[in-house]
């Protein structure tokens, strides 16, 4: 006859070998059931001496409990395995397309404009807007560009009935914002501007952002400082700027700003027309005549103004080769760069 040790050993092996809950139930019954090995052994207990009987009885009960525990443990493992398998079988192909609301995006020019506005509002510049259909006074005369000035030749202006024009720059907002205000103030003015230029590299409409700051002590050095900070915000911390003397009737001293071409590191490439630099915009100290035209005492107050295109930054940021692509409303383009 088997000893308890034999039974335990066999039970342990059989439980470990059971690979389904049903098989496990059968294994359990073969040891613990009415006709199971342990039960049979217990049935023989009556033939033993009383002191032996108690010893064997205790041993058998302990064996019974151990087998019970092994079976329970195994049962849990088998059931967990079955559920995992079932979950596996009901799994999804997660590479199928996402569902959900359709996707929409802001125009790249809007996104770049917001980026620029965020920078300048963080520097305490307020936003000011002016009309797109503007008077000659606000677009030219007050900006120190009289009717006979050669600078007017450089501006291809759209005129409208009634003697006004489509503003050729956002500088009209300088006049609008400064008139009737007393410094100190600082403003930016983003918006659409228009030039009658039909060459393929241009668009009759594009976007500029104007900025100006006037008080009693703002210097040309401060202008450089603001634009350096702006350049770093827009193009990264190591952008290199260059200020070139130039002539604008509404600022003096005037400068054009360039930034070192980000693609070729000033070595020259097609993007920068092999010059190593990309034109960024114009700036300078507001001309005393302009301050005067706005009723501001130019002996006491001084300040800077700058203006730059927004579209070109968007084109560089998203790799758009032609400005016109921005304004054609082509979903294929907007879905890529929107």
């Amino acid at each position: 006859m088997d000893t308890l040790e034999d039974i335990e050993r066999r039970a342990r092996e059989a439980i470990a070998a059971a690979d389904t809950p049903h098989g496990l139930a059968e294994v359990r019954a073969s040891f613990l059931g009415k006709k199971g090995s342990v039960s049979e052994l217990l049935r023989g207990i009556g033939k033993l001496a009383p002191d032996e009987r108690a010893q064997v009885g205790q041993g058998a009960n302990a064996t019974k409990q151990r087998i019970e525990a092994w079976a329970a443990e195994r049962k849990q493992a088998l059931e967990a395995g079955e559920r995992d398998k079932a979950l596996d079988e009901t799994g999804l192909d997660i590479s199928l397309p996402a569902a959900g609301p359709p996707e929409g995006r802001l125009h790249p020019v809007t996104r770049v404009t917001r980026d620029m506005v965020a920078f300048f509002t963080s520097m305490g510049f307020s936003i000011e807007e002016g009309p797109e259909v503007e008077t000659e006074f606000h677009n030219f005369e007050a900006l120190n560009i009289p009717a006979d000035h050669p600078a007017r030749d450089e501006q291809d202006t759209f005129y409208v009935e009634g003697g006004q024009l489509l503003r050729t720059h956002t500088s009209n907002v300088q006049i609008r914002a400064m008139t009737g205000r007393t410094p100190p103030f600082r403003f930016i003015a983003p918006g659409r501007v228009y030039r009658h230029d039909l060459s393929p590299r241009h668009s009759p409409m594009f976007h500029q952002i104007e900025g100006f700051m006037v008080d009693e002590r703002t210097t040309f050095g401060d202008l450089k400082g603001v634009l350096h900070a702006f350049g770093r915000h827009l193009m990264g911390g190591d952008v290199e700027l260059r200020f070139r003397s130039n002539h604008f009737p509404f600022t003096e001293p005037s400068a054009e700003m360039d930034y070192a071409c980000l693609l070729c590191d000033k070595q020259g490439c097609p993007v920068c027309s092999h010059s190593g630099w990309l034109e960024w915009g114009g700036c300078g100290m507001i001309h005393p005549h302009v301050l005067g035209a706005c009723g501001i005492d130019s002996e006491r107050y001084q300040g800077f103004a700058f203006g730059m295109g927004i579209d070109r930054t968007a084109m560089l940021r998203y790799g758009v080769p032609q400005i016109r692509l921005l304004f054609e409303g082509d979903m294929r383009v907007l879905e890529q760069i929107g």
């Binding site: 509002t121 936003i127 259909v133 005129y159 409409m205 050095g221 002539h247 979903m331």
Partner: protein, 801 residues
């Protein structure tokens, strides 16, 4: 302006080209470039003939070994008689493209492989010499590009001059700039001519009638010239500047214009009626045939040069054909004058002529240089075309030009503007470099004397700019501005535009930006009646085309055009919006009214994809959802009302968008005629909002109310209603009737068809009841529901299903 760099180098010592380009660029000139003139010789290098022997199979050919500086010397067959061992030659390797376009290939010449070519001048397009190869200077470094070695005078300086700097548009002017930036002495060529014969005054009389328009006029007479072609050095210099050679006399006037910036004109003296020059206004109806062969109708505002009987030149702009110097001309009158910039500018614009002369007069010339230029031209003509220069010029003066002679500059003020700390000596020194002689005036002031050629310097700000420019912008310290901390202002219109964009993007639309132009046909295609206010548009005087001749009063045509274009590019669905301004004329010469407008289009999706609903909502309701969302983003609650919609919307599928009692926009599917007019091939819905109409409307403020812990009780009511009963009205009535415990009432189903009587529709509402503190009893809910059912029957003829 473009000119020969070598010519400029004769006037002043130049730094290396890169430094010159950089400093002129940062110092005020645009697009500064140094270009090589002549053929593209890239690939052609200096080679050395290291061995020279006879070609084994041809008597007239030789076989050379050429060292091109890139390793092993190669064998080259050469047919030139003058090739010899040890020579430096121009070598073109295999693969080089020659100026005539041929690309060199490895070839066998009479059985011997030739690995390139030793070039003649003609093969390099440097001359006509084809008798032998081009032999280079023995010092030429082997392997160097040939362009670096050939001193053919082959480089030009090309730069843009800003409108204020007419004085720089000459060799002299640029030499002054080089001097300001790099120092050095300017060598001005000799100007005084040798003189002979009778004085000029015996051959010409000069009078200025228009004294305000002509400040100064100098005439010099040269007798007995031989008009003919110019020598090569003259034509080369003119061509480098883009000027065509005409004849030796005209060429000299142009050459001196390039040298000194003073426009000149030469008349054939024999053609002048009564040997007389009058500078006067043109007579009404007077005509002049200019040098370009055009007949010009003159007006009294035109300033002309005339003889005793007729106009012979448009002053400062272009000469006349009848007095032109030609082959038979013997005696000349050289004109050098100072005309008023505005007069010349108006004349040039009026007649559409932009000449080298008018360019310079418009920008202002050196008032002290008029006589010098006449002398210089007379001297050069005598040298080149022969003849004798008559002693003394004839001069006449009009009213002196208004000039700024001195400017007082406050140096502390300058430093306060620039952010520099220059002292008066440094400032004086910087100004002296641009010809402004300064003396101290105490208290930090310097007084600068403005040179006669700087017509752009009028006040202290102009001198400040000169100081900054010469000092160098890069040397002005970069600083952070200091200012008071004040709140940033954002215009409400700006904020609304931004919120609208966010709302539309969240609703799944793409933003587009389009040009503001429309044509009259666009307004027809959106069915605007003649009297519609949107028909009033601002007309562009110089439009791109007739179809883009109006500023848009509505965004609708622009977006509908995009729908068609995108569909033709096979877009399955178009979901676009634009937020910008539209323009409404106000008349009376006033600026138009600019309103911020939003418009969006959505088309039915032409594709059905994996997760798409089997029954997508009708397009109208998609657009209505977008409208609701945008209005909410703007801070309002939208309501929708049928009727009162614009003519381009479908009368049965359109609604006005209202906020309170105010109509602020519209939403709907397109009218079929509009669909047809824009050739749109899918159902399309349109949404418009007038953002400025929101100005002053009270925002819908969100308020918290206590969230009840009590259970909700839901009751669904399916009601038969007349088909044309607006469900929204029914829902509103339910909300009014159901009592204070109703927390929400929604319409969740609508059905017509089998089981519903003809002309009726089954609409299902879900009513949710909840009390803030107590659990509602069935009886309480039943009573409220009963009230609703009775109301539905009574007011809407509704029957419970």
């Amino acid at each position: 302006m473009r000119l020969s760099l070598e010519w400029l180098a004769e006037w002043i010592a130049l730094p290396d080209p890169a430094a010159l380009v950089d400093r002129l660029s940062t110092g005020g000139f645009e697009d500064v470039e140094i270009d090589s003139v002549g053929p593209d010789l890239s690939g052609v290098v200096v080679g050395r003939v290291v061995a020279h022997g006879k070609h084994p199979n041809a008597d007239r050919l030789s076989l050379c070994r050429v060292d091109a500086g890139d390793g092993e010397p190669v064998d080259v067959v050469c047919g030139a008689p003058n090739v010899a061992e040890g020579q430096k030659i121009a070598f073109a390797a295999i693969g080089t493209k020659l100026p005539d376009g041929t690309k060199l290939k490895r070839s066998k010449i009479r059985g011997v492989v030739s690995n390139g070519m030793i070039c003649s001048s003609r093969e390099l397009a440097l001359g006509d010499d084809h008798d032998g190869i081009l032999v280079l200077d023995p010092g030429a470094p082997v392997g160097a590009p040939i362009g670096d070695v050939l001193s053919s005078g082959g480089r030009t300086l090309d730069l843009g001059i800003t409108p204020n700097r007419g004085d720089a548009a000459s060799l002299l002017g640029l030499a002054r700039e080089v001097q300001a930036f790099f120092g050095g002495e300017i060598a001005i060529p000799e100007t005084q001519p040798p003189q002979a014969g009778a004085p000029s005054s015996e051959s010409i009389r000069i009078e200025i009638d228009a004294a305000d328009a002509c400040h100064h006029y100098v005439g010099r007479v040269v007798r007995g010239v031989s008009v003919g072609p110019s020598p090569e050095w003259v034509t080369q210099r003119l061509e480098a500047s883009g000027l065509r050679s005409i004849n030796n006399v005209v060429d000299v006037t142009n050459l001196v214009l390039l040298e000194l910036g003073q426009p000149l004109h030469a008349f054939d003296l024999s053609t002048l009626d009564q040997a007389q020059i009058r500078v006067r206004e043109a007579h009404s109806g007077e005509k002049l045939v200019t040098l370009d062969g055009e007949t010009r109708e003159l007006v009294p505002d035109d300033l002309v040069i005339a003889d005793a009987s007729r106009a012979i030149a448009l002053a400062g702009v272009m000469g006349g054909a009848e007095t032109e110097v030609g082959d038979t001309t013997r005696d000349l009158l050289i004109e050098s004058a100072h005309f008023h910039p505005t007069v010349v500018r108006r004349g040039a614009r009026r007649h559409g002529i932009h000449s080298e002369a008018s360019y310079r007069f418009e920008r202002g010339i050196d008032r002290e240089g008029v006589r010098r230029a006449a002398d210089r031209a007379a001297r050069l003509i005598a040298e080149i075309a022969g003849g004798e220069v008559a002693p003394d010029g004839v001069e006449a003066r009009g009213v002196a030009a208004e000039v700024t002679e001195e400017i007082s500059l406050d140096v502390p003020r300058l430093n306060r503007l620039l952010g520099t700390s220059l002292d008066t000596l440094e400032v004086s020194d910087l100004l002296a470099r641009v010809g402004v002689a300064c003396h101290g005036a105490g208290e930090g002031r310097v007084v600068g004397t403005i040179p006669s050629w700087r017509n752009d310097l009028h006040g202290p700000h102009d001198l400040t700019e000169e100081v900054a420019r010469v000092h160098g912008y890069d040397r002005i310290p970069t600083t952070d501005p200091v200012g008071s901390l004040v709140p940033v202002e954002m215009p409400t219109a700006w904020q609304r535009v931004e919120a609208a964009r966010d709302g539309l993007v969240a609703a799944g639309l793409y933003e587009c930006v389009t040009l503001p132009f429309v044509g009259p046909g666009d307004l027809d295609r959106i069915r605007l009646p003649e009297a519609d206010p949107l028909r009033q548009t601002v007309r562009v005087v110089n439009p791109i085309s007739e179809e883009e001749s109006r500023l848009r009063s509505t965004l609708v045509p622009s977006l509908l055009r995009l729908v068609r274009q995108n569909r033709s590019r096979q877009a399955d669905q178009v979901r676009l919006f634009e937020v910008c301004r539209v323009f409404h004329p106000r008349g009376d010469g006033q600026q138009p009214h600019e309103r911020h407008q939003l418009a969006a289009v959505i088309t039915q999706d032409a594709e059905h994809r994996l997760w798409d609903a089997k029954n997508p909502p009708p397009l109208f309701f998609q657009a209505k959802g977008v409208a609701k969302r945008v209005v909410k983003e703007l801070g309002y609650l939208a309501s929708f009302r049928a009727g009162a919609i614009p003519p381009y919307l479908h009368p049965g599928a359109g609604a006005a968008i209202e906020i309170g009692e105010n109509v602020v926009g519209s939403v709907g599917e397109l009218h079929p005629d509009v669909v047809a007019g824009f050739e749109i091939d899918v159902p399309c819905a349109l949404l418009e909002l007038d953002l400025d109409a929101l100005e002053g409307l009270a925002l819908a403020t969100a308020r918290f109310s206590e969230v009840s812990r009590q259970p909700q009780v839901r009751r669904d009511l399916a009601v038969l209603l007349d088909r044309d009963q607006a469900a929204g009205d029914v829902l509103a009535a339910i909300r009014e009737t159901a009592g204070g415990d109703l927390v929400s009432a929604e319409l969740f189903d609508r059905y017509e068809g089998k089981g519903v009587p003809e002309g009726r529709v089954s609409v299902a509402f879900r009513l949710v009841f909840q009390h803030p503190e107590k659990t509602l009893t069935d009886a309480q809910v039943a009573s409220a529901t009963e009230r609703v059912v009775r109301m539905l029957a009574h007011r809407f003829g509704g029957e419970l299903r």
